[in-house]
Structure formats: C-alpha cells, structure tokens
Amino acid sequence: MTNAPENYEAWVLPDGVEKVSYVPDTKIENCGVFRLEREDHTLANLLRMQLIRDPDVLFVGYKHPHPLDHHIELRVQTSTNTRAGKYMPPEAVRVALMDLSAEISRLAELARRSRPS
C-alpha cells in the first residue's frame, strides 16, 4: 500500500548485508573506518571509550551519519611503532570488544547474585 520501510529494518540485519566492513585509509598508515551495520550510539560510544583506554590507539571517533541510516562509522588509527609489533585497527577493536564482553559478563553475574538487603 505504501513504500514505507518496515520498522524492524532499523534493527534487523537484512539478508546479504555485512555486519562489519572495514575500509583502510588510503593516505594514513594504520588507519581505517569500520562500518557497523544496525548499530547505534549504545555500542558506538561504548567502543569509542574503550578504545581510548588503549595507549596504542592514536585516534578514535564515531558518527551516526543520518537518523534514517541504521549504521555507524568508527574511525580508528593505531600506533605504527608498538612494542608488540604490528597492531592494526581491527586488532585494536577486537581487543576492546573482548574487554567489553568480559566487563558485561561480570556485571551480569553481579546483578544475578546481588540481592537487596
């Protein structure tokens, strides 16, 4: 009847769309933009703040390009001379996500155990 998009399209990943894609920057070394499909400020800001804690991350920022777009763009630049050797943005993001996952698990466990006195 109308061409209005279905409401669930805002949060359900459509078929054939990649959840995460990474485009390396052509001018700056160790830098690139992640496109996270069907994500919003909830995860983007969490990830940004976690990446800031990483001393080998030189730059991190995100944007939600338009209210009708249901993806976020996360730009990450990592240091080129780390002690551990090669450290590319996808690795930094993976480490940040691992830390967040562990933190949320811990919170869930605490919430499950916590009983009001």
């Binding site: 703040m49 933190e103 006195s117």
Partner: protein, 314 residues
Amino acid sequence: MPFGRNPGLDIKESSRCYMNFSLNGTDVSMANAIRRTMIAEVPTMAIDLVTVKENTSALHDEYIAHRLGLIPLYSENVDRFDYGFDCEKCEDYCAYCSVSFQIQVHATGDTAVRNVTSKDIVCTNLETEEWCHDVKPVHDSGDDAETGADSDGGNGILIARLSSSQRLDIRCIARKGIAKDHAKWSPMCTVSYRIVPPAVELVLEKLNSLLEQDAKEDLAVYSQGLLKVTNGFLQYEEPFLKGRIGITPDTTRRAGQLATQAGGKPSDIVRYNPEPERFDFTAETTGSMTPRFALLMALDILKKRVDNVMAHIH
C-alpha cells in the same frame, strides 16, 4: 584482558515495578549503554493488531486500538516467543509468535456507565498453548508496587466507558517487539542515573570565607534553588543534596565572577571531578516485568551485541 576494568554492581532496593542499584568501577559509556539497552532493546509483548468487530462506544476504533497497544502485558516469558517477522511456523501469526485476546462487553441494564478496563481483556489461546496464558494484561500502573501486591489488586487500566446499550467486540493480537520499533514495547517507565560525585562542585568553604554577605545572597538567588544562606553561610538546598537538581554553568560562572570581585580566583571555588566514583540508577517498569529482570535481560542483550560484532571483525 589488557585494558579491562573490574566493575561493581549492587542492587539496593528491588520490587515489582521499582529498583535502585548502583554501578561502580566503570565509566559513563557503560552506564549509558545499560540505560539505553534497558529502555529500547529489551523485548516485551504488546497488542499490535486489533480487529474491531463492533464498536458503538463514543471513542473511534483507532483511538481504542492505540490505547490497547499501550497496556502493558506481563512479559517475563517473552523469550518463548519469536518475532512475528521471522516466525517460521506461520505466515501471519500463531501461538509461537503471538498471543490472542478478545474484549466483549455489552453495557446492559440501567447502569449509567460501564467501564471497560484491562480486566476485560481475555486470552483466547487454546488450553494447550499454556505459555500464552502467562502473558496477561497488567491491571495497575505501579500503585501497588510499594506494598508488593500483585497486579490483580488494581482496578484495571481504563480503556473506554460505555453507556447503556453500547457494545464493544474486539479481537487483539499481541506480538513480541522492542521499543526501537514502538515505545509501547518498552518495559521501562524510567531509567535514570546520577553521577556521584557530580562532575562540578562548588567549594562552599572557600566561597563562605571569601564572599561578603550581599554577594552570598546574590549567588543564592542566582542559583535558583541550589544554594541558600543560613546564619550567614552558603549551604546546598535539599533538592541538590538528594540529587534531584544539578549545578548549572550559569551558577558556576556567577560564583566565579563574585569570587574574582572579592579578590579570589575562579579556579579556587570550583572542584572538578573527572572520574565518576559511582552511578546511582533508578529504574521503574510498566509492570510487564520486574526491573531486575529487565536489567538482567539488558545485560545479556548488550553482551550478545558486543560478541556479535566481535565475531564479524576480520
């Protein structure tokens, strides 16, 4: 965990519709992610499809349909249902992705007004589909939350009022959804947190020793309910101490100006706390689930979200 934290979470008070908890050892982004997830991503059941067979009430069909959608349905077993758009067992709706209700009220006799309330919403699923029968309308708006009475104790949520001989015959389909789709699916009325200590605080001892009496009163008036002058000393007002109001930039600016005029430095009279010590949360639900249940679900959803992105990073 190279850059991980060791957060703490402590539930202070928890009842059917209301909960108080505090979060520590983490930062604003985590507090906000929990708040946002509880509000917009915890699924519940809500009436989504309404067929009006007969409506001779004073309210038009769409208005009643909208009111029905907003009635909370008890949804702690929401995980047993699939979302309507990806249910594999049906084309339209079935007992695995929806719950059916009907409302049949005929205002008979001479009674002036017959109230149609959430108590008139009757489940029409088969006896064997027992999981559907757990999804019941909530009959109060949290009035009984403090006494801990269950939701049947309320008077029911008013849907429409029929006068003599008016009739309502409605079929409803409740589906699973989240508040990103429509706010009726949010389990939460309120989720808010207060950062302790506040990011900006006034150093009252310094202000009190620096400022003249009239400057103190000037600041108290300017602060609009933040500060008062008692026995010649500036003190915080009750609402601030209880965390209901914060310090506005205008007040800090004015305090800085007055301090400068009195020969002090603006930097001496404000204290900046960049690291929040803890977040005091207040959470209230519509009755569709307990706030504690919503928090647990929110944390699981958030974790799945993070893990899902992690699985797709190459």
